[in-house]
Amino acid sequence: MVITGKHILHSAFYLAVTLLCVVIYFIMLRAQYLAAVQILVYIGSVIVLIIFALMLTRTNVGDSTNISNNQKVFAALIAMVLFVSLTVVFYYSKINVVAENSSSLKIVSIKDFANILFSKYTLPFEVASVLLLAALVGSVVLAMKEKKEASGETVEGEKAGKNGAGIDIIKDTGSSSLNDSSLNNEDVENSRAKNKSGEDDD
């Protein structure tokens, strides 16, 4: 479904469903902490990131996203051959590890997990955090680089837009309050003139 979805947004949601199925497998394997991490990281952030990127790169490909290139038969052949060979390997390799009863699959508690993570695997943990930081900075730099010339103008435009909106709100509230209090027309005209002068200043 992820591969054959008509629209790529549908593919993203099918990917979310697939990840939920993977979560179910994790729970069957008594890896509750990993299931929680999978939900949080994949379904929480990765899918949202992908959908944001889809919105940002809205283009004419969006109409017919399911276009494949001309390697379809070749790729299907490779995938089928790989799958069959893997199955044959599994069949002949005598991996007949069966969980005798379900209690032999130990439920990994978060306490054990944290003990091992922060005693034995401290260095990989720190390296992973540095990697996350590097990926964050790198992605921000990659996404910001092209807009460097136009960024000043857009920021100023946004500020002007915000000021204009604020003035409009002030004008509306002022005019309504003036109407409610039924002051004379001169004050209303004065306030409108003030608002116009403020707009001209901006």
Partner: protein, 109 residues
């Protein structure tokens, strides 16, 4: 608890599921032309790897949780990969105004 009555849980089932997921993902990587679609397929492959790791970990060495620890680091690296990949896709889109993978041939000699 879950499989008390006769239905037994084998490692091979999980390996086959993982193989199916891996092959679907590889087919997607090889055929799709949309850049984000390729990224989705890579996510499928990474999930196949995760299922493999966790299955071997909890079937062969249920006392240690080395495989699950490794899976956590794989998840971290996958999140990094998605972030950087989407940033690269945005940059490419901004430069070329397309996300078609056939038009992205800057590195082609």
């Amino acid at each position: 608890m879950l499989f008390q009555n006769g239905l037994e849980l084998k490692l091979v089932y999980f390996l086959i599921i993982s193989a199916v997921l891996f092959c679907i993902g590889m087919y997607g990587v090889l055929t799709k032309r949309h850049l984000i679609h390729v990224l989705l397929s890579v996510e499928l492959i990474l999930n196949a790897v995760l299922i493999n790791l966790v299955a071997f970990s909890s079937f062969t060495t249920p006392d240690k949780i080395t495989g699950q620890m490794f899976a956590v680091f794989v998840i971290v690296v996958a999140a990094c990969e998605v972030g950087v990949g989407l940033a690269i896709i945005l940059s490419v889109y901004r430069k070329k105004r397309t996300v078609d993978i056939n038009n992205v041939n800057i590195l082609k000699w």
